[in-house]
Amino acid sequence: MAFPFYVNPEQMTQDKAEFARKGIARGKSIVTMEYAGGILMVAENPLRLQKLGEIYDRIGFAGVGKFSEFDRLRKMGIQWADVEGYRFSRDDVRAKALANFYSQALGEEFTRSNKPFEVEIVVAEVGDDGLAGNERNALYRVGFDGTIQDQEGYCTIGGSVDSLQAHLAANYRQGLSLRDALRLGRDTLQRADNGQADLAASKLEVAVLDRTRAGRHFRRIAPEEIREHLTR
């Protein structure tokens, strides 16, 4: 009969975390930030497999790391949100609850399974001026081990987060126009360790949660529109 080896829990947690961090650092980064008209999400992604997604009326999703894993999280989020909205009302579907749901799920997966998820995600919610108490935007960042952070202004995920955050800290200000925010997002992504020096519009995936829209606020920005914003 074989006995399982004793493994120090601290050691195991460290190993898992290191494994997850390595996996995430290999991927490209994503920048999300508040601008005058809502929330902007910019990803370096020349592929058709999308990293940004719509969850609900005012909630968007961004994920980095292993595609199969964050895409599963995205779909789980949509399922959660649609059931919640069906059970209660559309205004009852909130980003904070969703971020908590993700945090619980990822936290449990991190402790229980041998291979943790190699993902980092952002849950963004655009405010609604017509709904008392919901006026403010929200950005939640959830890590591979379920750590959850409530961010203000901007938030980055993926490899080389520190240098990206530093660039944003120096250059971000409130009330940016969409054009300025998009440029800042592109410039920030170019500073990633594995980023490209001259990021073309065709290599960007961009979406906004547009405050001025009614109903479903999520909108993808077409390559032509991105190019227009970046060149003019």
Binding site: Q50, G53, I55, R72, K75, Q79, D82, Y86, E108
Partner: protein, 265 residues
């Protein structure tokens, strides 16, 4: 928290059935235990027709409970997404719930898969919902909708009618459902032209609804006293647009002028 063993498809209806079965009413048990249902509100005349730019769906606003008015301004025409419309006739409660579920189903699929269902796929989804409702329909909670929309790939408006078993039939011209439908169809039979402009289509629909309200006590007409007008929605390449009450009122006045007879001395 289950990551990999939860439901992974793109259907909200299946998600509910598999992961949240307690949401589904156990209709058979209701009837076994209750015997007969108490009176419920019923909807009445709805029209779907094709015209040059797409499809138009119209419905009156009256709901009745036996011989009494249950509601004077009920909505029977619902946009189920950006390019499809469902109009309901029959038991109002289950029909409105069906329209709501259908809307969530379309949005859910679009978000999960990244692109919307084909119009045909949407029409088929509604078939399945009606088929599932068959046990309730056998007890009197019949839901018979009209489904219409703009097919972005084929660049044309399309209209479907349904029967209680979920049978789905595409109409080349128009159809009507509800207690006043026979009169609405007789009216459209004479006025219908598939190449009609938007204004002409509005006029055809309004006249048909008026004819239905004239002969059928369960169909509401234009309520001038309260300012309640029928619902008319068009679905074209631009998406769904509601016809404004002002426009309906104007068209209604024109029809009245044509039909009004002088007072006898």
């Amino acid at each position: 928290m289950r990551f990999w063993d939860g439901y992974k498809g793109s259907s909200f209806l299946e998600l509910l059935a598999i992961e949240h079965p307690h949401f589904e009413p156990d209709v058979r048990r209701w009837f076994d235990e209750l015997g007969q249902l108490p009176a419920t509100a019923h909807g009445t005349t709805c029209i779907g027709l094709r015209f040059a730019d797409g499809a138009l769906v119209a419905g009156d606003r009256l709901a009745t409970m036996g011989y009494q008015v249950a509601s004077r301004d009920i909505q029977k025409v619902y946009a189920t997404d950006g390019y499809s419309i469902m109009a309901i006739a029959g038991a109002a409660g289950p029909a409105i719930e069906m329209a709501r579920l259908l809307g969530i189903q379309f949005e859910h699929h679009e978000k999960i898969e990244g692109e919307p269902l084909e119009l045909e796929g949407k029409a088929n989804t509604l078939s399945q919902l009606i088929r599932q409702n068959l046990p309730a329909a056998m007890q009197g909670l019949v839901v018979v909708p009209i489904f219409a929309g703009f097919d972005l790939r084929r660049r044309t408006g399309r209209v479907w009618r349904y029967e209680v078993t979920g049978g789905r039939y595409e109409e080349r011209e128009f159809d009507a459902v509800g207690s006043g439908s026979i009169f609405a169809k007789e009216s459209l039979k004479k006025s219908f032209r598939v190449d009609a402009t938007r204004d002409e289509a509005i006029r055809m629909a309004l006249e048909a609804l008026k004819d239905a309200a004239d002969e059928d006590r369960g169909t509401g007409g234009v309520d001038l006293e309260r300012g309640i007008y029928p619902t008319l929605k068009t679905c074209t390449v631009r998406g769904i647009e509601s016809v404004s009450d002002e426009e309906i009122a104007r068209a209604h006045r024109e029809v009245l002028e044509l039909r009004r007879r002088p007072v006898e001395a």
